[in-house]
């Protein structure tokens, strides 16, 4: 939860949110719970930070939102992925995979390089 972790997460949070919504519309609380469950609490996110991120994505046209009723007839704001959002997710996933691949290839060679 320190500042560096949050910074690192900044770009990643967007991808995480888009991915979570790729299975269908959800309200904010459900999104936060899904992320929590999917990552097994490994990623510590301030739960409130989701909301500005969601709205930012909405403003950029990747999401649209709508008030609706939950199963328990409670009013909640539901977010849904748009077509541009789906494309953004794809490119985000690609970037992330390239990043991970590059990182892990460097990290896996790290030991022999240091022994010289």
């Amino acid at each position: 939860m320190g500042a560096p972790a949050l910074n690192l997460l900044k770009g990643t949070l967007d991808v995480l949110l888009l991915k979570t919504l790729s299975w269908g519309p959800l309200h904010g609380y459900a999104i936060s719970r899904q992320i929590r469950e999917a990552t097994g609490d490994a990623l510590q996110v301030e739960e409130g930070a989701l909301y500005p991120a969601l709205r930012r994505l909405e403003q950029r046209g990747f999401l649209r939102s709508e008030w609706g009723l939950t199963e328990h007839q409670r009013e909640a704001r539901f977010y849904e992925l748009t077509e541009p959002g789906r494309r953004e997710l794809e490119s985000g996933v690609r970037d992330w995979q390239r990043y991970v691949a590059a990182m892990s290839s460097v990290l896996s060679r790290a030991a022999p390089a240091r022994s010289r």
């Binding site: 519309p25 309200h27 328990h72 409670r74």
Partner: protein
Amino acid sequence: MSAAGGRPARPAASRPSSGGADPAMRQPFAERSVDEDVTRELRFHLEARTAELEASGWSQSEARQEAARLFGDYAKIERACRELEAGTRRTRERAQMFDTLRQDLRFAMRQLAARPGFTALALLTLTLGIGATTAIFSLVDGVLLRPLPFPEPERIVDLAERNERGGRMSVSNPNFQDWRELAQSFEAMAAWAEGSATVVVGTEAVRARPVLVTAGFLDVLGVRPRIGRGFVADETRLGGDPAALVSWDFYRRHFDQTRALEDQTVQGLGRSFRVVGVMPPGATFPEGADLWVPTELWEDTSGRTGHNLDVIGRLRPEVSIEAARAEMQALADRLRVEHAGANDAAGVDVTPLAAELVADARRPLLLLLGAAALVLLVSASNLASSLLARALSRRHELAVRGALGAGRARIVRQLLTESTLLCTLGGALGLGLAFGAVRLVRALEPGRLPRLDSVTIDGRVLVFTLAVSLGVGLVFGLVPALFAARAEQDGTLSGGRGSGRERAWHTRFWDVLVASEVALALVLLVGSGLLLRTLWALLSVDPGFRVERLLTLDVTTPVAQPSAFEPELLRGLEAEVASFGERLLGDLAAAPGVASVGLISHAPFGSGPSGTFCLGEAPCVDSERLVGERGVTYSYAHYRVVSDDYFATMEIPLARGRFFDRRDASGARHAVIVNETLARETWPDEDPLGKIVRQIGMDLHDDDVAEVVGVIADVRLRGLDQEPRPELYFPLRQRAFRAQSPTIVVATSTDEAAAAAPLRALLRERYPEIPADLVSMSRRRTGSVAEARFSAAVLATFGALALVLAATGIWGVASYRVAQRTRELGIRLALGARPAEVVALALRDVLRVVLAGALVGAAAAIGATRLLESQLHEVRPADPGTFAATLLLLVAAGVLACLVPARAAARIDPVEAMTDRA
């Protein structure tokens, strides 16, 4: 309390049930405020989180605290969300607005394209109205509104002296010198005097407008030469190096730009000037000046009554013009006391230079702008009545759209989009028209309209045109649009024609539109009628001298100006001027096709010197006091210097005595010829011949005695609209000093053009220093009424436009009336009414409206034409003839405009009319 609580593990629980809530339960975004929207969402999260924690065993209060901790900084997040939400909504609303606008525009475009006749007519109307207004506005903007092209132009003022009667005078040199030394309000002060001269650039003789300026002239204007430098101290003193500045245009026209400036000279005014600088383009003051030379090169010994200088000053930044006025008045009072009797200036006028330059042009230009606004009103009314007609013919369509769910506001907006689109298109076309008109005006050079160079169609004019177009579209589109939207609510769909009350309402509106078009057109026509009569009256004024087959030539005598103001040197100069004049006259008189030749110091139809003269043998000026006592009578007259044959050449009749001849040699007693007005006013019951006249302020000949040898008939010397005033004429041989830049008049025995060719050849051969610009006297006469002609031409164009527009409007309303009553008229015809009766019936109402408009217009014109009074000549503002003729013209146009619909009415087929309800 529990939102998703109870079954937290099931994500599906959070989805909207059945792919979305019941539509009826949803709240559109716009109906919930930004703050509420955000707060609700965040609250929901906290509540759901609390419930989840409680479910896993937390106590309620601990769960609430934990949920808040996990959430983070609530206030900060809420603020961020609110800002983002507000931004998103703004973007969305804007997008929606543009979307609607695009739809409306596309629809409007289709509507306009679907009715090309209506669209073309409306566009033409608007093009003319907006074009006229834009053209005149660009004139007003360029001439009156635009600041002078100098830094901080509001600080530049014009200073003039005032005499005891309050009349403005130029400034005398000694007074100017004292002002410049003593006045504290000014950062810089300078004087200038304009001359005209032939100068030689390289080997080319060109007529130029040189301006003699004092040191500090450029400081007042706040400009530096674009190339080279300004004058230095050594050039602004008596006997200094002759240096000149030239204007940008003059430099481009006459100088070799590949050579260094210092190597090029201008010869003229008896000196050879080194050109030291070129002024920046556009920064030309006074307007039309070609070159500036320091006036200090010549000695000026004129006294405090010699009003020869124009003075300008730059106020200090902190000094107001009122403060400067107060200081200058105090200074004038002091100088008047100090030089009692020798100083005739009672006060000083301090005016912003910009206002002073355009003082004469302001009123005529603003009147033209007013006239253009009337044309715009006529065309806008015309547009409104065609829009109303459109709306009426579209009632059915609009009613259908209304029934299909289009709200009233939507329909009004759609119709307003149409009218505004029309006006914007009309504005664009009008701009094109104005562009052409401005070029035409600039080419015509309407008289002495100042600052014509700064008249262009530019950003300011564009903004004006756009504002006018949108304004007309909205204001004049609104009433028809409202009416149409109303129609949709009445029972139009059910096949009716609207309620009786509503019909009365729109009919009355339409009547008012047509009546105002007629009224406005009448005002414009009366105005143009008056100006045309003025022009006609001016051109038919007999000036009292020959105009036909008469050529004129402006000449600058090529003699060196003496460097000092010494009587001996000046007499030599005078002799040179006189002998050059005699030689030139002799050569021209011998040319083929020439009947007679004369010379006058200042051309007819133009201004010239005037001054005080006194009567009798006693001197009118003594060394101490200007105003003599001993019963000397003073009077005021215009004066000119002429050659012997001038009067004969101009065919000006001699009333008494004789013309000048050889007897009036330079050594002989001086002679003078007076006009009848002077003779009558000065010696009402006596014989003027042999009387003695002394002229004051004629430089070399101050107080010289002159004997009246002849009286000539009165002529319109200074312009067709100038009543004859007292005039004195002196012979060239005796008073050539004032005739150094005279005008030669050549009476030709053949056609002017035929006679001009040999004269030009002669001038080129024997007088290469004189530009052979021969101008016919009739052209000078036309040129002298250029302003009147310009105003009359513009107003007549506007009047004609308004007439045509009003006629179109009448035609429109008459056609509608006939169409509306087709059934009724058909029944009447079937019942045996004669076609003429039917026509009269259909059009009686329209003609009544035309007459009402004409009467209102006539009343308005009586008030409006009073504003024209100062521009009229020999016709009164309420001239009955003009009013009657205009009324007749308008009513005739109205009847004519009704003819087509009337013929249609007479040809109605009763059977068709009664069965076809369309």
